[in-house]
Each structure stands twice: as C-alpha cells, then as structure tokens.
Subunit: 404 residues, 2 copies
Amino acid sequence: MTAPTIPLAGRAKDLVGSMIDSSTSLLAAQRHDIVRFAMGSPADEAVPSDEFRQIAGEILDSSSFTYGATEGEPRLLGLLVDYLAGTADPASEDRLVITTGGMQGLDLACKLFVDPGDLVIVESPTYTNGSATALSYGAQLLEVPTDENGMDVDLLGDLVARTRQTPKAIYTIPTFQNPSGVTMSLERRKALLEMAHHWGAVIIDDDPYGLLRFTGEDVPTFRTLSPDDPLLFSVRTFSKILAPGWRVGWVDADPSLRQLLINGKQAMDTCTNVPNQHIVAEYISRGGLDEHLASLRVLYRERKDAMIAAVAKHLPGVASVTDPEGGFFCWMTLENEYADVDTRELFEIALAEGVAFIPGPALSPGGRFHNALRLCFASSTPERIDIGMQRLARSLETLTRGRP
Amino acid sequence: MTAPTIPLAGRAKDLVGSMIDSSTSLLAAQRHDIVRFAMGSPADEAVPSDEFRQIAGEILDSSSFTYGATEGEPRLLGLLVDYLAGTADPASEDRLVITTGGMQGLDLACKLFVDPGDLVIVESPTYTNGSATALSYGAQLLEVPTDENGMDVDLLGDLVARTRQTPKAIYTIPTFQNPSGVTMSLERRKALLEMAHHWGAVIIDDDPYGLLRFTGEDVPTFRTLSPDDPLLFSVRTFSKILAPGWRVGWVDADPSLRQLLINGKQAMDTCTNVPNQHIVAEYISRGGLDEHLASLRVLYRERKDAMIAAVAKHLPGVASVTDPEGGFFCWMTLENEYADVDTRELFEIALAEGVAFIPGPALSPGGRFHNALRLCFASSTPERIDIGMQRLARSLETLTRGRP
C-alpha cells in the first residue's frame, strides 16, 4: 500500500520560507560567539527584562489566564490611545485592534484586501515575511526599486502600467525601512497617497521603527498627511520598542473595518495572549516608556555609528552601506571587484567565521540583490560590531581568494 | 469629495463573526452576577493562577522576550514529546509545531489544505470559529448531522454525493464535541478514516478536551487507529487543560508538512509568544500536570452532574440535554411546547435574567438548531449552575408567557 497523497491547497507552493527570524538563523545566532547581524531583534540589554519579570510576578492573576476580548484587553487599548496621543499617529479606540505582533497585522491586511491574482506593490528590497504573507493569499507582487528616499514612486506609474492590472494594495515600510534603513521622503509620501487614491488601493503602512529615530527630523506619517483616510491601514508593534517575544502589536484602520478585523482575527487565534497584554499595559501605565525610548535612541545611534565606522575600517572600497536615521538596519552593497559576490555563498562562510547576516536575495521576492546584505546593528555592542565586520571582511577574503 | 471605497477582498463577506468567545458574550460574562454558561472557559478556580504568577516571577529572563523559533521553543517541544508519550497520542518532535492556541492550528490546516470552492465537511452543530476559518479560505461547507455517537458517518456518503464534489477536508471534534458534548464511536471513527482515504481528504482532528474524560472508557484516537497516516492533521491546545489566556497549543502532522507549517506560521505571527511558552514548559517540568488533570476531572464531573440535575429539576419536560463523558459542554434541545422557541430571542431575555449561553444557530454555519443551546458547565460551581438553570427556566417562561 502506498501512502496517500496529501491534498495540499494551491497556495501551498506560495508558502515560502524566509531566512528572517527562521530557525536556521536563530540556531546560528544562538551559537555563543556568533556576531548577530542577522535577526532584527532588540539588544538583550535594551530590553527591561528584570522589570518585565517583576511586573509579571506582581500583577498576573486569574483574569490574565482566561480568554480576552478579540479586539484587545480594554486597559491596554485605553493606555495605547493615551500614549499615541503624544506621537505622530494619534488614534481613537474605534480604530485600534490589538494583534499578535505586527506580523498578524500584515496577515489581517492581506486577509481583508488580497484576492488571488491581485496586484500588490512591494518595495525592493522588502521585509520578506510581509511579502510572503501577501503571496500566501495569492497576490501577484510588483517589486519597486528603492533609493535613499525610499520607494521610487516616480517609477511606479510605468511599472504598474506594464502589468495591465490595477494595484489592490501597496505594502510599504516608509520609515527606517526593513531591510534598507532608508526613509521615504515627504514628496514621495504625498505622491504615493495620490496614486493610491487614483487606483483605489490600500496603503499597508508597516512602521515598527518610527519611534526609534536617533537623528534628523521626523517625516510626517501617512496618517498625518491624510487623516481619517479609509485607504490607510497602519501596522504597528511593541516588538522593536519593548520586546518581540510578547507578540503584541496593533493595527490602526478605518473604524468601518473594525468588525471585519475582529471576525478575521477570531478565525486566526481568538485573541492575543492575555498575560503579555496585561504586562505591557502595566509597564506603560508606570510611565517608563518615553524614558525607555529615549535610552534606546542613544543606544542605537551609537551602534549605527559603530557599524558605519567598522565598514569604513574593515571594508574600504569593498562595500557601500546606507546610513539610516533610526531603526535597526544598514543595507550593504558589495562593489568594485566584489560586485559579483553572491551573498548566499558568503553566508555559509561567514557563519563559520562567526558572523550572521541576511543575504540580499532573501529580502526580495524575485531573489534580486545577490551582492547585498542586511545588517542589524541593534543587537550588538560597538565592540562586537567591530569584530563582526572584521569577520565579514575575512569571509569575503576567503570566498574570493584565488580568483582571477 | 466622497470617501474612497475600501477595496475589500472577495472573502471579506465570508469573515463571519461568531458569538463564541466574542466581545459581546465576554462583556456579558463580565457582568458580575451573570451565570457563565456561554464561554468555553475553564473555571477560574481550575486555573493554578498563583503558581503561574510565581513561575513567571521566577523564570522569565531575556531569552523569554526575544523572538523564538517559529516551530516552538525547544524546551517546550521536548517536554511536550515526553508528556504525550504517556497519552493516547504519542508524537515525535518532527511531527509537532507549537501554535498560538488551537485556533491557529485550524488556521494553519485551512491555509495548507483549503482552496476556494473546496468542499469541507463539518459536524452539525460545530465549533463556529473552526468552520469560520474554513469559510475565510473560501470553503464550501457541508454540515453533517451528529447524534449521541458523534458525526453520523452513515449519512456522509449520500450527503457528499449530492454535492458532486470530492471533500478536501473533514473537520471533526471527535471527543466531547464542541458544542454537543458527544463522542464519536469507534465504529464511526474507523468508517470516517476509510472514507477520508477513499476521497484523499484530510481529517482535521480538533481535540481540546480529550484529556478531560471524567467517566467511561477512552475511545481510540484517529492517531491510534491509523498511525503515521499522512491524512491526519491533529490540533491540540493547552487552553482547556491549563488556561486559554496563554494562547499556546500545538499541531501534530505528517513530518513532510513541517516546513510548510513553519513557513505558513511565519507569515501569520512569526512565532508563538515566548514568555508563555517558557512558563508552560516550566509548569510541565515541575511535574504537576497529571495531578492537575486528575483534579480537573473530579471538578468537571461534579459540575456536569450538577447541570444534568438542574435541568431535571428546573426544566422537566421542557428540554433534553446530552450527558457527556468529559469536556466542557452540554447541548440542550427545547422540546414539546417549547420546540418552536428561538434561542436567539431567548438569549436577550436570559442575559437580562442573569444567565448567558450560546444559541444553537450560532453553532451551525447554516443557522440550524433554533431551539437548541450550548451550555458550558465548566466555568460555574454546582450552586451557580443551579441558579443559572433556574434563571434559564424563568427566561423561557417570560418568553412564552401569554402564548396561545
């Protein structure tokens, strides 16, 4: 008797893995001496673990262990509204649904907006777990190049025209983009809004890092530029500003979508885990979040500077690197005689040398950017960043040694 | 200027709400004196909240707050394999993926198996959040009647033939079914396996209550009857045996599906929240789970008995009720002169009287069972169960008073 064939859905072929946050890179990162440029995790020392543990030991009670409301714990929602009032994205409670991390916000967006065959615009490079979610709903992805001002909106009209489709959604990480670190300019934000309205397309505005600007001036958010715009769907998370392990984030969307979001989320995970919502709420209520963010900005600026300096020191003439004003990532492009290096090959050698990163092709649905890589500066001290860059230089040398 | 139309996906119309675990019933249940027959929540006193809080205050550390492996925390997976070895469903680690509650297991199953238009068999009545997930992937649902031996598999061939489709998946809660409380007989399990193989359909075996049998003999699980069967997809959770607030469950599936499950889950929520996985693992490692389950069986048997007794006392000749051998739920059907009562109308009156339940039509995709209701006996003490049933009787009286 032969084993029966498992009747997979057509979309199973579109459930693509990603090197980001995957078990492979995680296991690599767990090796003690590896310099962790791969994962987009906050530094261990940037997470107030002791305070979190203390709060957990103090406040968890039976109300933390039962089902919560699908839209989120009322206290957390209330505190979030209060907190957001002091940011560039104020929101009323009827716009908010707590999600199981920012990732679930993207899953919900695609569940609500993406039919099989729909055209979805993504930045190139992009956050592959985000584009993978769109693919899992059958999206046709259109990659649009980015430069130092973010998605190149000037190219968008022509690129879209060639597809002979009208975009259904535009997936963007406008601020300190993952993976490139760049920020979309004000002009481009305005132009993108205009095009979204022209097409009737939703802008999925994924912004996990916006509160982590360590230099330069804030660029107005889409929400500020177009208040109460039903075509704006904002995905936010505590992952980068508090800790990713919580899996607590939120979406901010037109109130007319709220019941659909609740229905969709019920069919995903019933509600976001309750103890962590209670701990996050208590942390916020104690008033330390602003001070915490201020300390993160100092820490991450220092680390970004260390990374730029380490590139200049160990890879002169070998690579160019973006110089972000916030967030977690630099994007490195190998150049000159290294321009034909495949960073997927480099990855294996680098792991053996003791440094992890994400190869460029893993950050493009079409596998572009063979000679680029994503480097997270947030997780490592300046000293470790220097060591990591030295190891990266050695890996490159190993890979290219003996070449003609 | 008129507001732009939001370009919803076609499936948005299939994102149906449910009265189960919804904010409506939650809010109702929070009213202090309401007898909580609605939600399928463990009793507060059945949750070792103090121990959970203590563990949290002791063991959470920086490793709890960063990203975890998508397939689950290694320690929890190891402890789970050890624990399952002593149950009816032993599993090796290559079969397991930790999920964000059992609900995400159902979401993953539909993501992997259900194409738009696919025929998915569900029990009637069924767990509506489960059937809603299938709908959200475009499934055509076929409701199959259940009786005291579970899904009526004898009817299945004819019902399927009439659809002129081959089923892609069979969604069943075989043991202490939600909402009916009944358990599928051994003969029917064998017959269902045979039909699944005939059709090449996956059995999505959702079993949150199997470890909560308080009387009678275990019926062999599908996994026992057909070991290593690639068409079996088992959805399990800690929600009913520990606490639903954790949102920690697991799926047990053919090892060939594991990478797809990991890819699919990455695009849903990256990983299940890490602190709760650590707390659950620590709780299991301290060895108290078996004793805890034993105490739950005593508690829930007493409550089930109290509910059966309260029905006999307060609703004689008015309603028949199932007498489950485990789990959380009795299913009540109004009869005789009450057979035409609509339990959705009764619901509003009952809330005002101070008792909550789930009306039958909310537990059937086709809105069947107008004169039935789901009663959760797990959340209330015997005394409160008696009071609740009295209130239910009074609500019925109010609703039908002055009828001809």
